[in-house]
Amino acid sequence: MTRVLRVQLLRFGLPGALLILLVGTVALFLDRGLWSGGWMELAMEQRDHLMLLCPLALAIGGWLARREHRATVTELFAGTPRPQHQRVLLTLTAVGLPIALAYPAILAVSAPWIMATAEYLPSAAYGVVAVGVLAVIASAWTGLAVGRLVPSPATAPGLAVAGFVAVLAGPMAFREEWQSVLASPAWAMSPWNEFQTVPAAVSAAQAILALTVIVAAAVVLSARRWQTRSVAAAPIALGLVAAIAVMPHDYDRVTIDPVAQELVCTDDAPRVCVGRAHSGLLTEITPKAREALALLAKLPGAPTSAQEDTDNYLDESDIKPPPDGVVEFRMEVGPDGRLADAGHLVTRMLEGGGTSFANCTEFYEIPVARAAGSWLSGRAPVNDPEEAGVTFDDGTPYTVLPETTALWEKLRALPEAEALAKVAAVRKAGLECTDMTGLLG
């Protein structure tokens, strides 16, 4: 790196890049519960934060252009032989390079949070990050270009506000999801679950569009005349056509990665499996799942293995009942990257004698299923921590604890064999999806 570039990086690019790094890292830290489930979630959540970072990069570009304008160096530089495009290239590099590095640096700072638990790193995540890098460069360079054309004190704050509105509200002007995704790199990036992905074609289309903005900004900055600046419209038009051609027009914001859904299992029995996206948590989950299997073993036809339910419940065709002899469980990842509500996993797996509401939504009676599970565990029913904060329509906290406890008390009062028969009946109803009402008397 030349001395001149080093100085330009230090004096021009670094302060803005540090601001991007700070804002991006703090925003991710505050939202860590949304991305702690894996690398793709982290990449997507960071893209969601472009609604902050793009306006910020725009404002940084505008502010740097204003600073250059205030330095009144035009007269001095105008008499030097170095061609304008080389000067502009140096400025663009000095501003773009640190900001481009700041974006993955935010990831590097945040990564240790999930380093120990996130194992599955799909290649699509690199595409998601690459688009983010291009988007912040495009924003900063556009800010520079606008700031050069309008060197007013109001330009930088104006760009921040305009950028925020454009990134946030711009996509709403479109009816089709794929159009909205092209309109904003932050759109549809809030992750729904750990099995989600962003197709490579979508990232490619967004990257093409960001690149064209980058080229257009460079053209505007290099040009001295309005006629030459108008040439910037050409790459934008070409990029738009190419991006529309590459973009899948049937794109759905919740696209599931089948590889992330694939089960990863223990080698030894009883077998415990989790989705590949959660493979880093298998060690933590296995003893709890086996404890649940041991407690379920007293039931006739008890399950002999456990696996994570990786179905996407937004897509009915993806919902499948578990294989025979398998108890399914759903799990959440906590903000620390580890299993959320770890103490409650066994309780959930015992519900309905190892059956799931998800596979029988019509007839599943939650108080009945939970009372049966509590009897199997030998512990009094408790509220599911996941339901904390959920309310009924009248605003009172959601709970089925009184009914569950009453049913559990009745079960406890029964002789062992009679109670076991009733719990077995609950399991059978859960598996066959028949009415559970009244099964516990």
Partner: protein, 266 residues
């Protein structure tokens, strides 16, 4: 000590470092330089003239910042108003504008090095050239201070440092002594004499005494035209006891200016 390149020792292929014929230059819509003829070789040339005479416009045209509106302007053998190699001419120029713009967060060294880069000096020569330029203007102890921390006089010297960093063959200094204390002005005159051995130095100033003390040649412009070119003694000779001024040189200047305003040319 520095290595002299072959280009620097090569004989010049032009007769005059600066040659203007019927030069016309606009400042906005106003024709500030109007049919000016000028020839300059190595040496220190002092440019005098009242406010609005066209001094700064002329300096800007010589610095290739303004394109001539008419006539012919040749700098270092290149026709900078026409089809000459502007880039080649600019490599041999040094320029300190009247309003010296700079990056406040840069250190003196960083700014001078950046200017050397803009002047397309070979990369490996830049650090040494910047150090020499800073030393020549007496800013060595402040070389690593931010520009925004410098006093007015120091800033002016930093401005001179950037102008001379490329050892220009034509050096244009517009009001270089503003902000310099008397001792610094004496040092500056010494620097000018030193620079003029190998360069054509044009210094625009209102300080007639500076011109007399440091310049081998005096130029005087009024209303966009050259009204006098000669040595300091000739300037003094034009003055009489009844002309305005506190020194013989100032009286000579006043007399020439009065004569020019009355329609005469010296």
């Amino acid at each position: 000590m520095r290595t002299i390149s072959a280009a620097e020792t090569a004989p010049a292929t032009y007769a005059w470092s600066v040659h203007a014929e019927q030069l016309k230059v606009k400042a906005g819509r106003h024709l500030a330089v109007d049919g000016l003829d000028l020839r300059m070789q190595n040496g220190v040339h002092g440019l005098l003239g009242p406010n609005g005479a066209g001094k700064t416009t002329l300096m800007r045209a010589l610095a290739t910042v303004l394109r001539p509106a008419g006539g012919k302007l040749t700098i270092l053998g290149q026709d900078v108003g026409g089809r000459g190699n502007l880039r080649q001419a600019r490599r041999g120029l040094g320029y300190l504008p009247q309003e010296f713009g700079f990056y406040p967060r840069f250190t003196v060294r960083e700014f001078v090095e950046y200017m050397a880069w803009l002047k397309e000096m070979p990369k490996h020569t830049i650090p040494g050239a910047a150090q020499r330029a800073i030393e020549r203007v007496g800013l060595t102890t402040r070389a690593d201070a931010r520009m925004k921390t410098l006093s007015g006089g120091m800033l002016r010297r930093a401005g001179i440092a950037q102008a001379i960093v490329n050892n220009p063959l034509v050096l244009l200094l517009d009001e270089p002594t503003v902000g310099l204390d008397p001792e610094q002005r004496l040092d500056f005159r010494e620097l000018l004499r030193d620079l003029a051995v190998d360069s054509c130095v044009l210094v625009s100033t209102h300080l007639v005494e500076d011109v007399v003390a440091a310049c081998t040649d005096v130029l005087m412009v009024n209303e966009g035209r050259l009204v006098f070119q000669g040595d300091a003694n000739t300037l003094i000779d034009h003055g009489g006891p009844n002309d305005a001024g506190d020194s013989p040189a100032e009286r000579g200047y006043s007399a020439l200016l009065r004569r020019a305003r009355n329609g005469g040319v010296a």
